[in-house]
């Protein structure tokens, strides 16, 4: 009895979370090297399980160039990895390379290494729009300040469309303006096809919502919001108009009636079976769709109101950082450097993702869906139109977006203004504003 009480009491002595902080030199190393020598080096890479295949391909290509480096991998289910990363980084034996989702928070904890010294030593030239996703300033605001990460590659979102249905409803070319899109949606509805497939049990309506938000607010405003810039708000009348458009589409029956009871896997299957004209989603669905639909599926960037600007949600596949407590940072940095190389870019494209850095577009099979996705991504980077996902603005905001878009899809259960007020309230509450 005493023993168990003692064991219980030991937990309650001091406030939790004391000790184990990284030192200044661990966060910002004074001297770095691009030479990783010939001695055997062991690295550990920590990522989400969904990326196992592509990570292993990258590692194979990297270790072929650096045979003295062995990289052991550690995977958790994707969402578990996102949640566990801060705790894994705080452990006594942290990984040397880790995917970081909540970048602002984890930098704030002092758990990552600043990469600026290596950036200078290697002479990294990263497109501005991509570099913004790697940076955090001293106040925890993302988009500016020191560089902490390099992406293995990017996801890219847009509209998949069913070519056979498109022809049937008289959609010649994919829409470039929102007016054209609305005509196509109406035509599809008229023809008795679901205009937009979305599995909103798992929150897919947000793709349509953000597509319109991107167009209404622009890249800067949305990225500022996701990067937690001071005073950033999404609760504006422009945003309400954009959400209002989606509300109108809900009312017009442009989404499946059971969207709130359909998950993303089911939605993918239903689109592949020819139930809908459009399916807003990302490159991650390309392989499955091509396998099931063959030539019958196309991919384009979302349309805009003026028909010229290209904006789409696109962020890192794995935003790789070097934990502050890693003991093999030069070798880890060599791996990050490798991510923007020709070889790595080809590995990512072969796996169906968009490549990191810039350069000649890697080769794809002509006429394949992957080639269409890569072409769309190249246009997007060229136009500097990569927008962050609004679900990633804070750790908990995704649950609020999910609940709110389900209310929206439920038809009249919330107003666009109330939806945005609820999201902004949660955002401010989490950030302590």
């Amino acid at each position: 009895m005493l023993a168990s009480l003692a064991a219980a009491g030991a937990a309650a002595c001091s406030p939790p979370g004391e000790g184990g902080r990284a030192t200044q030199d661990q966060v910002a190393p004074a001297s770095v090297s691009t030479d990783i020598g010939e001695e055997p080096i062991e690295l550990t890479l920590y990522d989400g399980a969904g990326l196992k295949a592509v990570d292993e391909a990258l590692i194979e290509a990297f270790t072929a160039k650096h045979p003295n480096v062995t990289i052991t991998t550690r995977f958790d289910p994707d969402d578990v990895q996102a949640q566990n990363a801060p705790r894994v980084l705080a452990s006594d034996d942290p990984p040397d390379i880790a995917r970081i989702i909540a970048l602002g928070d984890i930098v704030g904890n002092g758990q990552l290494t600043k990469l600026d010294a290596w950036a200078q030593a290697y002479g990294w030239e990263i497109p501005e729009g991509q570099l913004a996703m790697y940076r955090v300033d001293d106040n925890g605001v993302r988009g500016a300040g020191a560089q902490y990460t390099v992406a293995s590659g990017f996801v890219v979102t847009g509209l998949y469309y069913n070519k056979e249905i498109a022809e049937r409803v008289g959609m010649g070319e994919p829409p470039t303006t929102i007016v054209e899109l609305e005509e196509d949606l109406a035509a599809a509805k008229q023809a008795g096809v679901v205009p937009i497939m979305a599995g909103n049990q798992t929150g897919q309506l947000i793709f349509t919502v953000q597509m319109l938000l991107n167009d209404a607010l622009g890249q800067q405003a949305l990225n500022d919001w996701v990067f937690n810039a001071p005073g950033a708000t999404i609760d504006t009348s422009e945003a309400a108009d954009a959400v209002g458009t989606v509300a109108n589409w809900v009312e017009a029956g442009y989404f499946p009636a059971d969207t709130n009871g359909t998950d993303s896997t089911a939605a993918l299957g239903r689109f592949a079976r020819g139930e809908a004209l459009f399916y807003p989603s990302g490159n991650w669905d390309a392989a499955a769709l091509e396998e099931q639909m063959g030539d019958n599926v196309g991919f384009v960037l979302p349309p805009s109101s003026d028909g010229t600007s290209s904006l789409a949600m696109s962020d890192p596949v794995s935003n790789f950082a070097i934990p502050a407590k890693s003991d093999a940072k030069d070798a880890a940095a060599a791996f990050l450097d490798f991510l923007t190389s020709e070889e790595a870019r080809q590995v990512m494209v072969d796996a169906g993702f968009a490549p990191s850095g810039e350069g000649d577009a890697p080769t794809t099979e002509p006429g394949s869906l992957n080639a269409e996705v890569q072409a769309a991504f190249a246009d997007l980077v060229e136009a500097d139109g990569q927008v962050q996902f609004v679900q990633n603005a804070t750790s908990g905001i995704n649950a609020t977006w999910l609940a709110q878009t389900q209310l929206l899809a439920g038809g009249g259960r919330t107003s666009p203004a109330d939806l945005l007020t609820a999201v902004q309230a949660k955002y401010d509450e989490e950030l302590g504003r």
């Binding site: 009895m1 023993a3 168990s4 009480l5 003692a6 064991a7 219980a8 009491g9 030991a10 937990a11 309650a12 406030p15 939790p16 979370g17 004391e18 902080r21 949640q83 801060p86 705790r87 705080a90 909540a102 928070d105 704030g108 904890n109 002092g110 758990q111 909103n200 049990q201 059971d258 969207t259 709130n260 009871g261 359909t262 998950d263 089911a266 804070t394 750790s395 908990g396 995704n398 649950a399 999910l402 609940a403 709110q404 389900q406 209310l407 899809a409 439920g410 259960r413 989490e430």
Partner: protein
Amino acid sequence: MTRLRHRNWQGWWFALPALLMYGVFVLRPLISTVQYSFYDWDGITPATWVGIDNYRRVLSDPALASSIWHAFFLIIFFTLAPVVGGLFVAALLQEIRIRGLATAARTALFLPQIIPGAAAAIAWVWMFSGNGAVNQVLSSIGLDGITRAWLGDFTWALPAVGVIGTWLGLGFCTILLISGIGKIDTAIYEAARLDGAGFLSTFRAVTLPGLRQEIGVCVTVTIIAALATFDIVFMSTQGGPGTSTMVPGVLVYQLGFTESRIGLASALAIVLTALILVVILPIQRFFRAA
């Protein structure tokens, strides 16, 4: 006197391994949770003492009130339906006494009990989906009019989640009640039959009073399962659509693990624990006062 005390202490040695486990895996986390609930802590960086602020926020959060209401609503499905259904099935099995059939029925009913709630929830998600088994059955009997994606319906998602709970709980209650009936002296049943009592009056006069304690256990365990439910809701709806199936257990998880607000999550967990105790203790007293 000394011998008696000596003997008492010897007894404790047998309990020691269990106590140790209890201390490490039950008391320690409990005390830690109480401690964390007074801090603002992200789980990593040093925590700051905030006194009862977390409790103030938890109790003034409108999302919590509705999630608690949902948990109480689930008692209908997690407790009432399995206990009533279990009583009926157990009495029926006692009545028919055909060995093969009774064993088969017991096995079939108990099967859900050995399936983890999370796995059951996934299976039920498929069955409740737009073209799932539930709607197929409804269509086949001419009820096309009421088919829907049950878990995506603002009105029906919570009862649908409840049905999963009923399915999981029915076997547990039935088995417990059958074993309870087995303890009732068969002579009483015989006497009742000789007196001309039918199924219903035997059930009311013999079975029900004899099962008081077993019913007490069923009610207690299933009410705790309803109020503290997590896995079924988390795997089937994540609290949606909107917040129509949100329960306190999922809120605790979201606060603690998604948002890394350990203090707030701990405070909510303590409030939930207290709430369950407030509900359970009177029930325990009622069923014990035979």
